[in-house]
Symmetry: C2
Subunit: 311 residues, 2 copies
Amino acid sequence: MAQEREKFLRQQSCPAKFSEVEAALGKFVEEQRQFQRKIVLVTSGGTAVPLESRTVRFIDNFSIGTRGASSTEYFLQEGYAVIFLNRDRSLKPFQRHFSHQNMLDLLHLDLETNSTSVKKEYESKVSRIVQRYTKCKEQNQLLSIEFQTLGEYLTYLQACATALRPLGSNAMLYLAAAVSDFYIPKEQMPEHKIQSSDGPIQLSLQLVPKMLEPLVSEWVPEAFTVSFKLETDKDLLVPKAKQALEKYKHQMVIANVLETRKREVTLITSQFSFPINLTAEEISRGVEIEERIVQQLKLKHCEFCEKNIPQ
Amino acid sequence: MAQEREKFLRQQSCPAKFSEVEAALGKFVEEQRQFQRKIVLVTSGGTAVPLESRTVRFIDNFSIGTRGASSTEYFLQEGYAVIFLNRDRSLKPFQRHFSHQNMLDLLHLDLETNSTSVKKEYESKVSRIVQRYTKCKEQNQLLSIEFQTLGEYLTYLQACATALRPLGSNAMLYLAAAVSDFYIPKEQMPEHKIQSSDGPIQLSLQLVPKMLEPLVSEWVPEAFTVSFKLETDKDLLVPKAKQALEKYKHQMVIANVLETRKREVTLITSQFSFPINLTAEEISRGVEIEERIVQQLKLKHCEFCEKNIPQ
């Protein structure tokens, strides 16, 4: 198992920006420690799995990173510093509030003064969000790192976890990214684009080794680690969550079903199951379930820190 | 072949917004005809191919729709009306100029007046683009239609082509979308998310029937139709482009290689090959190759219209 994992990680080429990212990570963690802030690593969005070496095609998943982007805002609100490890072109904290809009539609050009400002009808929404965004930038509370492929994600995940190790139990990992279960090994990948003229094709997908194992046992063993379980089949959820907790020995699984994930999740630890549901009234008021999740996690993380001697 | 195609199209479920889109299309085409504008259908971005019925995973390709989004702006500039059939979350005309930026970073909140405006250093860029965007909106020159899956793309493509038929040779089709060559037939798709506990998996991908054939021969036979050929292997380009022209009998193939596609393309018709190259100097000045492509196409389309009696 460990051997397989090592082989898999060796196969991944190093992201072009790796040393730049590593330096930024070190600096960010150091600054947060000076402020005595807790740090949460939020992973977000799906990972792409290349089907060809010079990649034209890849396997992807539907995740656009709603959970990760909104949770990040609530963690910031609760005083955490956040390392936001996210898929390129997935939703970003703050910007996500405009994802269904064309930002250009919010702007008005005054032809006389040739200056551009936000249209009256959008002013209050825009200024509310710009204010929160500016505050988090000024306080240097957020570090964003982007990945595209599974290999990039795993390389950065290891780097982030390792950087967080010195924080001991003050670090939280909130692994909301939808990581691919399958991949095509390099030696089986064609170099050039697969030709449709070759007719129907067979793809043989191998299992991606589970990185939660080395993450919990080696990379960042004292942290408070939360993983996610998303299924389309409700009956599989709780047994699979319990199974994961036993196997990887981390602190919590957040279980959710594809169709109801925005109003219903269950926080599962080895001791308890804690359901969080939004009422129809709350949903209509625009309450987001991530606010509730983060509030619960903050409490659980506090208890965890008190039980464990911080370094 | 036609049978296979019919079967494939029947398998695709109708997009939820189909009748809404169809009505908007009819209205748009009618208005443009009153203005006697030529209309180009620009397709843009990649198509997702689901691996499961309740889709968690899909096969995708790297395209983010740069070619389609920038070409759309140049077609608008040249006086065309544009139907922009594009992948959700791909690049959009005008907005694309800010795709590497967080739009929130462009804004400044004045806490005294509580109003938000564009920061001084970005004003000239933002107002230039807002001005062009506003003009095209006021003149009702652009209709945007979004798709995600291959099935949605093909359903909308047929609807767009059919709507353009009354224009005769005044319609252009600029098929820049990166359409998947392979798919998994519905009857072979699992309903629920594929479980990693089931071990490695085999995927058997079938060929997607080529829709360029019915498009040219049935849906919109009098239009000026331009398809794209993208390869990673340069030697395959020209022979494959010529092959496509002979087979589908449309007007032009734009051939390009993955690595050099932003500075080098070749326009290929049954009579000639016309290379377009940007010099290093032009690239450094920010010239986009799509401007040149669109200028050439406008000329060729004019010649084509003169040879063919418009309806």
